[in-house]
Structure formats: C-alpha cells, structure tokens
C-alpha cells in the first residue's frame, strides 16, 4: 500500500538525516540528561523527594526534549525550501505526517531509554512493572510525537516559530504528562494494576493525535 510505503520513505529520510547529523544523539539526549540534573538541583538533591517525584520529573524532561525534537524535525525542511519540495513531491500529506511523526517517536523512545537510565541512577529508583512502563511509554511517546508534529507543521514558515511551538504544544500534551506520570508511579510503586486506566488514557490520546495529524497535516503543509 503506497500510503504506508511513502510514510516509511519519509521516516527513513528523517532517520537517515539524523544518523548523518547526529543532532538527537549529541544534542537532544544530553539536553534531557541535563534537565534531569537540573531538577535534582532544584530539589536540593533531596534523595527521598527525588525518588518520589521521579516519574513526574522524568516525563517533564521528556516533554521538554520533544520540543527540541519536533523543532529539529521541521528545521531540516527549512533549508533549500525542502518544505516546498515535499509539497511538489506529490506525496500524500498523511504519509508525510506518519513518516515524520514516526521518526520523532523513535528518536524520543531512544531518548527515554537513556534519560530513564539516568533517572534510575541519579534518583535511586528501583525499576518494577516493566510491562506497564513499556506500554505507557509507547503510548505516551506516540501521542507526544504526533501532537508535536501537528503543531510543528502548523507553525512552519511563521516568524517566531521556535518560541511559538513550545507554547502551543505544552498545554496540549498535559493529558500525556498526567497519564504517563500516574502510570509510571503505579508501576514503580508495585501496583501496576492501578496503571491501566492511565494507559488507556494515553492510548486514546495517541489515537486522537495520530488521526488528527493524518487529516490535518496535508492542508497545513499547503500554507506558505
């Protein structure tokens, strides 16, 4: 089916660019780690407090990293008018959306693994409920990547888009922040059963975000 094939083509293009430029690996992942450290300083390195707040702090760091990842995903389209090139390519807007969002999601997932390891070490966290952690992380990541990609194309070509996209994205992804934090809390507390309503919330949000993006990306890309 050419729709998915084109999405894979676009995702492959974005990931190849990342492999070549290594921006996510060398800039965004360290950024996530630094934020984790900043939180530790903010809470006065209080081990008990950090341990309790770990899920929330982890996802706060991921949310901030998403902003960078989405910004990067669209800044590569600015040079050489590549954005016009995408329109001219004749690729379907929905395919381009899925491809770009998938690439962001994969980069994000990698970041979560590394930053998560940092959190485990720095905040003294015992990892439990791995299945719940993984399911909620996957759902949350898809929701974040999709929402970010929608707003990324929405603000594309506008002045001040680097400061506009964060302002647009963060309020919109609060359900993810909430759901992911709560499910992580439940998993780490040893009561993974409590997490499932939150995982459902995350999954519903992800479905909505992907649907909205697939529909709206094409028309939004057409804007100058």
């Amino acid at each position: 089916m050419s729709f998915l094939r084109d999405a894979l083509l676009v995702a492959g293009k974005d990931l190849r660019i990342e492999r070549r430029s290594r921006v996510a690996l060398q800039q965004i992942v360290p950024f996530g780690a630094i934020v984790v450290m900043l939180f530790a300083f903010a809470l006065d390195s209080d081990r008990v407090l950090l341990h309790q707040a770990a899920p929330g702090l982890f996802w706060a760091a991921v949310l901030l990293a998403v902003l960078l990842a989405v910004g990067r995903s669209f800044s590569i389209e600015e040079a050489n008018r590549a954005r016009d090139g995408l329109r001219l390519s004749g690729l379907d807007g929905g395919s381009i959306f899925l491809g770009k969002a998938a690439a962001v999601a994969l980069e994000l997932f990698l970041l979560e693994l590394i930053v998560g390891a940092a959190v485990v070490v720095l905040y003294d966290v015992t990892v439990r409920g791995v299945v719940v952690l993984l399911c909620s992380a996957v759902a949350a990541t898809i929701g974040l990547a999709a929402t970010g990609t929608v707003y990324g194309v929405l603000a594309g070509g506008l002045r001040a888009r680097e400061t506009l996209v964060p302002l647009l994205v963060l309020p919109a992804v609060t359900p993810v922040m909430l759901g992911a934090t709560r499910s992580f809390q439940a998993a780490l507390a040893g009561t993974p059963g409590d997490a499932w309503p939150w995982v459902q919330l995350l999954a519903a949000f992800a479905v909505l975000a992907v649907t909205a993006g697939t529909v709206a990306f094409g028309p939004l890309l057409e804007e100058a």
């Binding site: 603000a155 506008l158 647009l168 963060l170 309020p171 028309p219 939004l220």
Partner: protein
Amino acid sequence: MKRLFLALTVVAIGVTVVFALWVTPPRPNQGFDAVRLLYLHVPTAWVAYLAFGVTALASLLWLVPRTRDTAWDLLAGASAEVGVVFTGLTLMLGALWGKPAWGTWWEWDARLTTTAILFFLYLGYLALRRTGATADERGKRCAIAALIAFADVPISYLSVTWWQTLHQQGTVFNADRHVLISGSMAFTLIAAVVSFTMLYGYLVLERFELARLEEGREARELERAIAERVRAEPTEVVPA
C-alpha cells in the same frame, strides 16, 4: 445602536451589582460575604466557555470552503481574545473566593487545572494569530489550533462531575439535575449571567470592528508595496 446596547449592558450590570452586594444573603459554608463572588465568578466562567465556543464555531465556518469568509476568521480572533481575558478573570476571582472559602488560593483539582490549561491553550492561539502577516497565512492554522484547543472546554466543564474535585459541583444544576439555588440568589445569578453575556457581546463587537479596520489597513499597505515594486521595474514596449 451600539451605544444603546452598551448603555443597556451597563444598566444590567448595575442591577446585578446592587443585588449582589446588598440584596442577597451571605452563606456561612461558602465564605460568608465572599460568596458574593459567585455572581462574578460563575458569569465570567460562562462567558469564557461561550467565547471559546464562538471561536470554535467561527473557525469551523471558515474551514468549510463554502462558508469561508474573512469575517469568520476575525470573529474567531476577537472572541478568543475576550475569552482569554475572561478565563484569566475566572481564575483570579476563583482564587479570591477560594482563600476565604477553602483556606487556599489554589488547588490542583481537575476543574482548576483544566481551566488553567484552557487559559494557556488560547494564549497560544492568540500568539499564533499574531505571527501570521496575512489573513491567508493565518486562516487555516488558527482555525485548526482553535478546534484542537476547544476540546478542553467540555472537559473542564464536566470535570466536576467526572472527578472528585475541591471545586463544588454545578451551582444551578448538580449531576442529578436538581435545581440547587433559588430566590434572590437565583435571580441575581441569572441577572449576572445575562449582563455579562451582554458585556461579552459588546466587547466582541468592538474588537471585531477593530480587526476589520486593521485588516483593511494591512491590505492597503500590501497593495501599496506591490504597486511600488511594479512601478520601479522598467516596463518595456511589447514588439508589434
């Protein structure tokens, strides 16, 4: 005509104030006199929801090609501005009431949190409006952003029935649809809602007209710039 409307609005608000401050009784379990903030806080919240509803509807009308008209885009923006102001007011009035009634300025329950998120969602929408130079650039992006943001309105409104919140349940109707309020309080509340809705209408009208004027000026400036550019190029005589 507009001035008459403004005058009526002022009268309506005046009536509301008189009733709110002097006629209605204080309530012990809702902060005594602070309960009078009810007559401000509920209407501002209602107007905020109304304003964002109008923005969403206008955005939808703009998106549909058959009904597309710049007027809808301008209306959406005007209504959202008023909406953001009223959301901010709602939050502030709520805090003012919360301190005497609950002992705290703020609480992270579902109603307050979703309202705060609503405030930021539309603040972002307003920022988005300002970065598009022309109506064309703005239209589609803002319309979609407005529709996404509107999802929070029903969530915020229903939050008190869906979750356990510190914020009280609906003032007029609770979840079982029994009317909870009566007498002078009911009258004052209705008067407040009506007069604030009138105020909303007036503010949006003024803002809309202002937006029309702004748009007209931008279009004229653009035309002038283009005319200059064409005039500057040497036109050649077409060979016969």
